[in-house]
Amino acid sequence: MGLGVGLATLYLSLIVLIPLTAVVWKSSDAGLSGFWRSVTNPEAWAALRLTVVASLLVAVINVVFGTLIAWVLVRDDFPGKRAVDGLIDLPFALPTIVAGLVLLALYGPQTPIGIDLAYTRTAVLVALLFVTLPFVVRTVQPVLMELDRDMEEAAASLGAGNVTIFRRVVLPNLLPAILAGTALSFARAIAEFGSTVLISGNIPFKTQVSAVQIFGQIESDNRTGAAAVATVLLIVALAVIVALDLIKRWSARRG
Amino acid sequence: MTKRFGDFVALEDVSVDVPSGSLTALLGPSGGGKSTLLRIIAGLEQPDSGMVEIAGSDATRLPPQRRNVGFVFQHYAAFKHMSVYGNVAFGLEIRKRPKQEIRRKVNELLELVHLEQFAHRRPSQLSGGQRQRMALARALAVEPQVLLLDEPFGALDAQVRKELRKWLRRLHDEVHVTTVFVTHDQEEAMEVADSIVVIAGGRIEQVGTPSELYERPANDFVMSFLGPVTKLGDQLVRPHDLHLRNAPDGSTLEGTVVRVLRLGFEVRVEVVIDGVDLWVQLTREQVDGLNLEPGSVVHVRPARRGREPSVVPACAIGP
């Protein structure tokens, strides 16, 4: 057993822990002021702002549409539902660069439906929505399936209308799952790279997300600058994981 | 031996001797330590202090693989992905026995437990009772020195439980393996076991045959755990050990009838004496000739001199 722990820790360390520590370490190369300068330089800052704002927006949209889709998949029935259900996982299985290409085909210069979003911030939004689609849906679905219909029936017998039932009986029970899915979708959106690369044009200050900006810094050999912004993203990632753990424990306590 | 889980003392200074070839029950309320004791014997837990001796040799340091004990779990622990045959054959395959021998033994055992026609089914296709019989066959296949059963019938219906109890007793009479089983059901222990060890709160309360425990309980706990009790004065007595008369006879206490319940063969008379409730168990014949209207006066005395202290408490001595 000691061997098992040792081996597993080694594996984790070599691949995950040591490299991530190296990023944080490298970002301190130029001291705290250097770190701050790398993060607040206009290009990096613009990218961070865009990334965070877009991710928050996407998280909100996902709360609404994710829950909606989960609801329809669980409570509704129509021919082809199983296919639609399987389709939800497509963004998980599709390479991000292909996702970008796919969105560009429909919403780029060659659009057959007249919507050209190339080089706009909306394009970034659409790309992020695509890759984060499954998160809220897949966390809410199982909870919805397990939900005891008795509660809703009791509420109806007491005179509550459908909207009230949803708001006061269903939603509170779905809340932990929705929050968990939202946290995951936010974390994914913040980190996204491949799907935005093609459709946004990566125009600095306009449509460049943080991951792309970091990439640019690496290519220009400014690893310290890249590490600084990367550390910011890592801190956010860590915060999300902690939040997820707290949500899980909170929901376990509610029973 | 002693065993702690964090702050919880599961077993405190417990010492048990199980004679070879006997069928012993570890009886007690839930959480009392009996399952822990069983698992320590099997090697699935380690005691904090003390030792385990099996057939004269020290087994304390041995892992479960090498103790040659058979263990039957409450929830069967069936190998779900193997057939019934595969389950029973498992121990023999591990020991690299030749295929013919395995086939012979497994078929023998399946016949013994009446599961021959299920040999190629999966455990999930069997009922609870059948699964437990399979688990028993599996444990017996490796010819263990000791057979341990942890609440083996706990997950089964009352009817199946009763059947399997008789069946276990008959099996033991045929096979004669030293058997220890854990239960919280005193009826089960009394019906099946040669000797009962009563464990509660991590300590041994009494050891003895079923009738010893019933007739001469060592303390109030054992008495109330193993059979019905009621209080006469400040003593615990068995409700069927009380005499009820309409007239006093010098050694009786006077009380008033509260209620009479006729439950088939048994008649229960609830009486109040000096403000204290008790009940007397009588047969229908005993009731004939008595005036037992609610409110009528009756006189109660024990049929014998209450409970006698048992000669040897047989409690803990040493670690």
Partner: protein
């Protein structure tokens, strides 16, 4: 009535976000016929990219499966100080940006770092070469096998394994004969998820591979390159292959999932 509204809203959202874009690409790929697609796919660079992708994917799947099972057993069956921390670290890769993954690996294993330099002196090149790409892929797919196997291990409980011990089976025998069969579907599912992830990885690979055409260029990198070089047909063709495999995996995975019930 409300039901129709909800259904419509959900389906329209999915139509415009998912179905139309993907459908369009499938359409555009074959616009010029099967032959044109085949020509694009049999280009030497395309073929090399496919080979590289496959090599990386297979190695990543094997390593991740083996260590994933070990980690799952560790986390579920054992108790040790720091276990909660280990658990959190296993989930970490889900939230890290792929570009950061690449950067992290370069900093530790690149030629100009201490460790990387030491390895380079011994002729082992990690970055801009296969090992680095495999490591990057393992990083991003680390949780996938663990998180599938761990709940199943938890659910089947330790009693079957204990029963095997009392019947004389040692730890390895118990693992092979009792544990492994019980987790095989969860394992398969996790391995398939890892495969999908490996085939699709872009960002981390982009950083770590150096994008040496013909040597460290995976199919995803190939797609990007072809697009930037205005060979849209080539990009679409390679994308089609990747998307097709993704769909096959999706279908396969949906078929596998119900089987978990019988584990």
């Amino acid at each position: 009535m409300a039901k129709w509204g909800l259904r419509l809203a959900a389906l329209v959202y999915l139509l415009f976000l998912l179905v139309l874009p993907v459908g369009l690409v499938f359409w555009r790929t074959f616009e010029h016929g099967l032959g044109a697609v085949w020509k694009q796919l049999t280009e030497p660079n395309a073929r090399h990219a496919f080979e590289v992708t496959l090599k990386v994917a297979v190695l990543a799947v094997v390593l991740n499966t083996v260590f994933g099972v070990l980690l799952a057993i560790l986390v579920v069956r054992h108790d040790f100080p720091g276990k909660r921390l280990l658990n959190a670290f296993i989930d970490l890769p889900l939230a890290v940006s792929p570009v950061v993954v690449g950067l992290a690996l370069i900093l530790v294993y690149g030629k100009f770092s201490t460790f990387g330099g030491w390895l380079a002196d011994r002729g082992i090149q990690v970055i801009f070469s296969l090992p680095g790409m495999v490591m990057a892929t393992i990083f991003v797919s680390l949780p996938l096998v663990v998180r599938e196997v761990a709940p199943v291990l938890e659910e089947i409980g330790i009693e079957q394994e204990q029963a095997a011990w009392t019947l004389g089976a040692g730890p390895l025998q118990t693992f092979c004969r009792v544990t492994l069969p019980a987790i095989r579907w969860a394992l398969a599912y996790g391995a398939v998820l890892t495969l999908a992830r490996s085939l699709g990885e872009f960002g981390a690979i982009a950083v770590v591979s150096g994008r040496l055409v013909g040597k460290t260029q995976t199919l995803t990198l190939y797609v990007e390159q072809q697009f930037q070089n205005f060979n849209v047909a080539g990009a679409y063709a390679a994308s089609f292959v990747l998307a097709f495999i993704a769909v096959v995996i999706l279908v396969g995975v949906n078929v596998l999932r119900p089987k978990e019930g019988e584990a």
